[in-house]
């Protein structure tokens, strides 16, 4: 027993009940026995002080443990100091992804000192942003990620090596399983599909829905392999899961689901006779009737019984792939739009165009979108920008310039959102100029909520977008007059500072790549 424990045995019961121990056989025994105070209590306390101090001073190292294997050698060169200096300024700002993209394109990795900050950032952002980070992290980061649970997102995700840890899967919550599947799919989409085929049916409804959501967020042509599973899922117990399965099957023009849908449309349609003029102009007029034969798959495919044939047609228009419809009914895009218009189904057609616009976008879509644009009405006018995202780029830019000239901030914002960065120089210059025009009288951020102000919440979002998406070297408008409100001047100064920083960043990357 150690000296301190011997003293403790007495101290626990108290000196009124136990006598002081006699120390023997320890290096401190003699010294302790010599300590005498004015009474048992003082002696015990003084000896405890000595034994405690000796324990503190005589601390021994812990038993041997092997240090971790050192980090493997890096395969990529480190980003040069000239470009790495920007990292501290753009960290945790929206400009970081641009820096990461430039670094990845140059084939460099981030300096080791920045790795923990970037791994932290990766832990808090979505998979798309992580995809910009992964290529520049290097071997050191993958090694380091093994030492912190916060950085698990980076582990085991190298292409071709992706596997799901069954134990981790079993222990995960619904959200955790979604995360694991998303990571697996990002690393190896084939492994993701194989996993789904085996595990999908055994999961709870909440998880099944989440797994299908992950598929829907980045649908790939190869996912058509999952058709048998998705067909089976049309009979799932959960309506949420069934609905998501239908949406996924709709994305693939050749799916049996789409063929069933278009078959139904075909069986409902008849053609009215048209006059000579109609024949000459290629017009068709349709009649509608509900088929007499019962349809066993109706409920599985999400269709409810209806009284009016037009109601059924509208539902079918919103649930079938437009390309499958055109092929099956031998219709041009204009013919399809006319059919929809005849039975007040344009809104449904718009909806179905968006629902099936997953890549690869079908060649007929630009024409279809162009034809639908003038037919948008009511609340569907909000979808104008989304439809414009499908038309050829030139047409879209012309629309954007027109919206800028017309000060239509909502449409400008919606169109800019779908424009990849960096924006063309002339467009960037025009956006910055219009921002200056809109903000020049704003006294504070609250001006955006004033009905009489040119500055509105949409412009604020355009400004935020311009910081990261505008071409940094685009010509700048002259500064605001000196009597402009401080808020306006500072807001524009901040925008210009961001653009300057990005311009410098691009110049430094270009110079170093040349070197």
């Amino acid at each position: 027993m150690s000296d301190l424990n011997m003293l403790l045995a007495t101290a626990l019961v108290g000196t009124s009940r136990a006598s002081l121990p006699v120390h023997a056989g320890t290096p401190l025994a003699d010294a302790l026995n010599r300590v005498k105070g004015d009474g048992a209590e003082s002696t015990l306390l003084a000896r405890a002080a000595l034994a405690g101090l000796a324990a503190r001073a005589g601390q021994r190292p812990l038993p041997l443990a092997p240090p971790p294997d050192p980090a493997p050698a890096e395969l990529l060169p480190e980003a040069p100091a000239r470009v790495a200096r920007h990292l501290i300024a753009v960290l945790n700002t929206p400009m970081l992804t641009e820096w990461l993209g430039l670094c990845g394109a140059a084939g460099w990795r981030v300096p080791h000192a920045s790795v923990p900050d970037l791994l932290d950032w990766g832990a808090h952002v979505n998979e798309d942003l992580r995809a910009t980070l992964r290529p520049v992290l290097g071997e050191r980061s993958r090694w380091l990620a093994g030492f912190s649970s916060d950085w698990r997102w980076l582990r085991g995700l190298r292409s071709g090596e992706a596997t799901l840890d069954e134990m981790e899967w079993d222990a995960a919550t619904e959200a955790g399983r979604e995360h694991l599947f998303r990571a697996l799919r990002a690393a190896d989409s084939a492994a993701g599909r194989a996993f789904l085929t085996v595990h999908f049916k055994a999961e709870k409804a909440g998880v099944r829905k989440r797994l299908l959501d992950v598929l829907a967020q980045n649908w790939q042509a190869e996912d058509a392999e999952l058709e048998p599973l998705l067909e089976e899922t049309l009979s799932d117990r959960s309506e949420d899961v069934r609905a998501q399965a239908r949406r996924l099957l709709q994305l693939w023009p050749d799916s049996a689901y789409n063929l069933r849908m278009t078959g139904r449309v075909g069986s409902m349609l008849g053609q009215e006779k048209v006059g000579l003029l109609g024949k000459l102009t290629g017009q068709r007029k349709y009649t509608l009737s509900l088929p007499d034969t019962p349809d066993a798959d109706l409920k599985r495919d999400g269709l409810e019984p209806v009284k009016h044939p037009a109601e059924r047609l509208r539902h079918l228009l919103s649930a079938a792939h437009p390309v499958t419809l055109m092929t099956a009914l031998d219709l041009t895009p204009a013919g399809l739009v006319n059919l929809a218009a005849q039975f007040e189904g344009v809104d449904e057609l718009v909806r179905t165009v968006f629902a099936s616009a997953a890549p690869p976008v079908q060649p007929a879509f630009p024409e279809l979108a162009e034809l639908l644009l003038p037919r948008l009405k009511g609340s569907f006018k909000h979808w104008r920008a989304d439809l414009l995202a499908l038309v050829p780029a030139q047409r879209r830019e012309a629309e954007l310039h027109a919206a800028l000239r017309g000060h239509d901030s909502q449409l400008v914002l919606a169109l800019l959102r779908v424009l990849p960065r960096p924006w063309p120089a002339d467009l960037s210059a025009e956006v910055v100029r219009q921002l200056g025009r809109a903000i020049c009288k704003a006294e504070s951020q609250y001006a955006a909520y004033d009905k009489n102000s040119d500055w509105d919440p949409a412009w604020i979002q355009v400004l935020e977008l311009a910081q990261t998406h505008a071409a940094p070297d685009a010509p700048r408008p002259p500064p605001l007059p000196t009597d402009a409100p401080d808020y306006a001047r500072q807001t524009l100064d901040t925008l210009h500072a961001s653009l300057d920083l990005r311009a410098q960043m691009h110049a430094d990357f270009a110079a170093e790549r040349k070197a």
């Binding site: 971790p68 501290i88 500072q490």
Partner: protein, 433 residues
């Protein structure tokens, strides 16, 4: 000299984490219409919330900053951002001479040293009233004696009744005893009593702690037999304040001090900063305190060396020191001491405890060592010896990121139970990270 400042060093000068974060945001040339480096004095204009931009200057020899912004932090975010910009975008700085207000500030700084010396002398004369001082000291000592006698009685009662019953005592027992010691102006003893409740679950640690408290009380009763330095250690452990003014009247050691480590501790009502300086075989501890939410005095540049005069507080193991005047020009680190193995550090610490049994912590340079992740993390030397590490995991992960698991030299604090890493160097100690 100035080129050697790394972003970490610059951000270590920040009065708090908020200043550091804001400085990083401001450190882009676009926010600074004017940037100049005029013979070691950086100055620039930064657009703030008003019409007139703030005029900010940094004298790199300190580095010491001045700014026209209303912040009460020194240095403010603008000063830090100017330094960060100089480190990352040095080529963007022009060489225009500083405006008049900055020139006046620089001249004022140069004159201040002289004025301080003269003023210091007058102040010393004004305060010197030995009779009154002795009377005050005697009154305080009387209060401390009464307080510690009470403490000793309390401790004896505890071990007479048995520690097994200690945990059933109401918390007010400990609080009352701590409050009595505060009233008796023995804050150090009060702080130790206030720690008792957290040790109730570990009887061995509790007994050692009570022994340490008893030693304080007994030591005070027998103080007549102590040497001057030993008495100073006892007084410091009891919470007697350091006579900084008296210390500053003494000569001190003027030398180039390496600033090796900085620890910032946020307590409930207090921010404590420990800065560790080293010159040849001497290690000095500069302690600064500020009420929570208020800025600390400007820090010395971490990982740099500064020309400074230090006066060590009397102690059998001299460690605590005060800065005499302002620190002078900063520069790269000078030669570091030979790093220690873990056994050598434990041995050195045992020697230190033999001199001052109340020593709470001391700082050492360890190397070559590796860090070992785990619960807790540990530090391992070449012989395979291992000691636990304490403190946040994040700085250790940063250490691993930069060292890649290779051996490093680590500077940090050892408190007898765990090592807190404060700074590290990859490769040979004395080289830079």
């Amino acid at each position: 000299m100035s080129q050697a400042l790394t972003p970490e060093t610059i951000l270590s000068l920040a009065a708090d984490a908020g200043s550091a974060a804001n400085a990083r945001k401001l450190a882009t040339p676009g926010k600074w219409p004017t940037l100049n480096d005029a013979d070691g004095v950086l100055w620039g204009e930064c657009q703030g919330s008003g019409k007139t931009p703030y005029l900010t200057a940094v004298d790199l020899s300190g580095p010491v900053a001045k700014c026209s912004c209303p912040s009460r932090k020194f240095p403010c975010k603008h000063g830090l951002a100017l330094l960060l910009l100089h480190a990352s975008h040095g080529s963007d700085f022009g060489s225009q001479p500083a405006p008049e207000s900055i020139q006046a500030w620089l001249a004022g700084r140069q004159n201040r040293e002289v004025q301080k010396a003269e003023g210091g002398q007058q102040k010393a004369e004004k305060e010197a009233d030995p009779a009154a001082q002795a009377k005050r000291r005697a009154a305080r000592e009387k209060k401390v004696t009464a307080g510690l006698e009470g403490l000793h009685l309390f401790l004896k009662d505890l071990v007479r009744d048995g520690l097994a019953t200690a945990s059933s005592r109401p918390y007010s027992d400990w609080d009352t005893q701590a409050a009595r010691l505060m009233d008796a102006q023995a804050a150090g003893a009060a702080r130790r009593v206030a720690r008792i409740p957290e040790l109730l679950g570990d009887p061995a640690a509790l007994l050692a702690h009570l022994g340490e408290l008893a030693l304080l009380a007994e030591g005070w009763m027998h103080r007549a037999g102590l040497s001057e330095n030993e008495l100073a250690d006892l007084r410091s452990a009891l919470g007697f304040p350091l006579d900084a003014a008296g210390l500053l009247e003494t000569e001190g050691i003027r030398a180039r001090w390496n600033v090796l480590g900085q620890a910032l501790i946020q307590e409930e009502t207090l921010t404590v900063r420990r800065q560790w300086l080293q010159n040849s075989d001497q290690t000095a501890l500069l302690l600064d305190f500020a009420p929570a939410g208020r800025p600390l005095p400007p820090a010395l540049p971490l990982g740099q060396s500064v020309e400074a005069g230090l006066v060590f507080a009397p102690s059998a193991f001299a460690q605590r020191a005060v800065l005499k005047g302002e620190a002078g020009a900063s520069g790269p680190l000078t030669a570091l001491p030979a790093p220690l193995t873990l056994t050598a550090m434990l041995s050195a610490h045992a020697d230190a405890l033999a001199c001052n049994p109340w020593l709470e912590r001391a700082a050492y340079l360890l190397g070559p060592v590796r860090v070992l992740p785990g619960e807790p993390w540990s530090v391992v030397d070449e012989t395979g010896d291992r000691l636990p590490l304490t403190g946040a995991e994040r700085p250790l992960l940063k250490l691993l990121a930069e060292s890649g698991g290779e051996a490093v030299s680590i500077f940090g604090e050892w408190d007898g139970a765990a090592f807190a890493a404060l700074n590290f160097w990859t490769g040979q100690a004395g080289g830079h990270r």
